[in-house]
């Protein structure tokens, strides 16, 4: 009996500690005007890096602004408070997380979620509670009328695909293509879009039905099927940063001599570590992350990001935009928009500013009308990279209208 009592006391102590801890954490940021921004995404498990990069980006920007006394909207300075929630890629948790952000924390601007499953699940909640969210998922219905609260945070693969293929046809003489995709909603969608785009451009599709399971580590078998089709170009549709280097390595080991490309952002460190020299010549899409096009502000951000996250992740080059766009649009729409997303939406329509992350003077806007028939996408510059000597080198910078 004594033992049991002992444990019960420990358990109770633990609960009290927990409660205290949570009280402390929530009580620490009071006093000034606070603007809360939510980050909802997968921050644990195999896809953890997607959500974590969102979180770290938002925290980094917030820290930078807060050090200057906050971000100014309508003459008042606001401290930025990032509330991050891990949905573990579980739609159930995404919904409750979104409820928490919108209803509990009173947040109207959310960065994330990361995949179709969770993004479509939070759609009803976000719309009902008047919140704008910035998913990194490609399902078109999210962004097309009658829905209007989701803003795509990056370049969709179906937008990048045609541009890359065209470039490779013109400059590298590519004539035929094979696709391989991760067997999940987003990647398959990206592959189908990619196949359509390639057909339109007149590329010969050698194969397109090879897929691999999330969690696969040995890509030898599936890659040997793809390589045996003998295409000039192999497109990795929607591959996770963890999978891309393994796919590339397998392809090279199998004697593939052509070009490998993907339409999603990748991480150079992972590519180098895992694929090594096999990564040479790999073409991918990044944000404003390559050193040669970065502005000083971006350099500053990169440095701070390193402090917060431990190391730089090239994905962050794309994901840095979401919070910046939210804040700048709010500034333009005025302080009322903090609690009224309709004002925000109006301000989106002809919002334009100089892209602060690029050296070059380029405008930053909301785009996507051609795809969603409304501007519901951040006009992230599309930087196409090639791996050269263990580093990303910018091939060209494009954009989406």
């Amino acid at each position: 009996m004594r033992i049991i009592h002992f444990y019960r006391r420990q358990l109770l102590n633990g609960i009290v500690l927990l409660a205290l801890g949570s009280a402390l954490f929530s009580g620490s940021l009071l006093a000034e005007e606070v603007l809360k921004i939510g980050v909802l995404g997968v921050m644990s498990g195999p896809a953890a890096s997607w959500g974590l990069v969102n979180k770290y980006c938002a925290q980094t920007s917030a820290q930078l602004y807060n050090e200057q006394g906050g971000f100014e909207i309508g003459g008042k300075k606001y401290k930025i408070d990032i509330v991050a929630i891990d949905d573990r890629n579980d739609p159930k948790l995404a919904v409750s997380g979104c409820e928490r952000l919108t209803k509990q924390e009173g947040i109207h601007y959310i960065i994330g979620p990361n995949v179709d499953t969770t993004a479509t699940s939070v759609q009803p909640v976000a719309e009902a509670s008047g919140a704008i969210y910035f998913p990194y998922a490609f399902q078109k219905s999210l962004y097309s009328p009658p829905h209007g609260n989701a803003v795509l945070g990056m370049i969709a693969s179906y937008q990048a695909g045609p541009i890359i293929y065209k470039y490779l046809m013109d400059k590298r003489g590519v004539k035929s293509v094979s696709f391989i995709a991760r067997n999940e909603s987003d990647p398959l969608d990206q592959r189908d879009q990619g196949v359509q785009a390639a057909k339109k451009l007149g590329l010969e599709i050698k194969s397109s039905n090879d897929t691999y399971e999330p969690g696969t580590t040995d890509f030898f078998p599936v890659m040997s099927r793809v390589v045996s089709n003998g295409a000039d170009l192999i497109v990795l549709s929607g591959v996770a940063p963890a999978d891309a280097p393994l796919l590339i390595k397998s392809a090279r080991e199998l004697g593939f001599k052509g070009i490998l490309s993907t339409e999603t952002a990748q991480d150079i460190k992972i590519l180098n570590e895992v694929a090594g020299p096999a990564a040479e010549g790999f073409i991918s899409v990044g944000g404003a992350s390559t050193p040669e096009i970065r502005s000083p502000e971006m350099e500053n951000f990169v440095e701070r990001y390193r402090k917060i996250a431990g190391e730089w992740n090239d994905e962050a080059g794309t994901k840095v935009y979401a919070l910046e766009m939210i804040l700048q649009t709010l500034r333009k729409a005025g302080p009322e928009a903090i609690n009224n997303v309709e004002l925000f939406k109006k301000a989106m329509d002809n919002f334009s500013m100089k892209n602060p992350f690029l050296k070059e003077d380029k405008p930053l806007k909301y785009v996507g009308t051609a795809y969603f028939s409304q501007a519901r996408q951040i006009g992230v510059p599309m930087v196409v990279n090639e791996v050269k000597g263990g580093k990303f080198q910018t091939l060209f910078v494009g954009g989406v209208e």
């Binding site: 195999p46 890096s49 897929t211 580590t217 078998p221 963890a242």
Partner: protein, 283 residues
């Protein structure tokens, strides 16, 4: 294709041997096996990949680290549980809990990124139409050596015999004056070290990240179910079957259908032969 099956089978055998060892001694399905595999990979990543320690020395470190983890698990978790619990399901659920704990620990300490190391050897052999990268060959040879070593160890050393006795009959072993708890802890440590070694070997080819654990655990389960749980030759046979099924399936069918067929096949197989290919009936 078949060559690839061989490579897969040998590596899987290493994983399956570890889990079958633990199962035979304690009747516990070690859910954390995949996570131990993952930690083995990370040890190699840090020592060999980041600090430039010799690859083989790193593998020795893997054995030490995982051995300690396995020993602690048995000593502090499972031994306790066996003495307290009233239902046999409890140990299994505890195993699930340890898997969750290890995975979360790894995520906190190792981060979420995919990791890889420079190849230990480079080059590609071409055998007929098939390609065999040297890295894979090395991993295969090392795994083979380890498997043979393990079999000899279990067969001919005193500790190995004690382990086998324990696997056969706990009571009798106890009566024979063997310190059952100590041997069990050593057995668990050995099983964990095997999982870690498999991770340390395979990570040079496939890389590693904090989330791979469950996938390997499930593969390990499939293998010992095919071969017969707790039977050493069964584990090897199971690994061979799964390795070739994967290699052949992936070569002929889209990936997810291969695994669908493997799972359906496993279910049907178990219905007709629950003891596996070589095992004695269980329960």
């Amino acid at each position: 294709m078949l060559l690839n099956g061989v490579v897969l089978a040998v590596n899987y055998a290493l994983i399956a041997l570890g889990i079958t060892l633990i199962f035979s001694i304690m009747n516990i399905l070690n859910f954390a096996h995949g996570q131990m595999f993952m930690i083995g990979g990370f040890v190699v990543y840090y020592l060999y990949g980041l600090f430039g320690v010799n690859y083989f020395a790193s593998l020795v470190a893997v054995v030490a680290v995982l051995g300690v983890i396995g020993w602690c698990f048995e000593k502090f978790f499972f031994q306790r549980m066996r003495k307290m619990a009233t239902r046999e399901e409890n140990s299994m659920l505890l195993a699930v809990g340890t898997a969750l704990l290890l995975e979360n620990l790894a995520l906190s300490f190792f981060g979420e990124k995919q990791r890889g190391v420079p190849p230990v050897v480079s080059g590609v052999f071409k055998i007929g139409d098939a390609f065999l990268p040297a890295g894979r060959l090395l991993v295969m040879v090392l795994a083979l050596v380890l498997i043979v070593g393990l079999l000899l160890f279990v067969q001919y050393t005193k500790l190995g015999r004690a382990l086998r006795a324990l696997a056969q009959d706990r009571e009798v072993t106890y009566l024979m004056g063997v310190n059952v708890d100590r041997i069990a802890a050593l057995g668990f440590a050995l099983g964990a070290a095997l999982a870690g070694l498999a991770g340390g070997l395979l990570m040079t080819v496939f890389g590693i990240n904090s989330g791979v654990g469950t996938v390997y655990s499930i593969k390990a389960f499939i293998m010992i179910m095919i071969g017969g749980a707790g039977i050493v030759p069964g584990a090897i046979l199971g690994a061979v079957v799964l390795g070739f099924a994967e290699a052949i399936g992936y070569a002929l069918l889209p990936g997810s259908i291969t695994y669908l067929l493997i799972f359906v096949g496993l279910i049907v197989f178990l219905l007709f032969r629950p003891q596996g290919l070589m095992g004695k009936p269980w329960g």
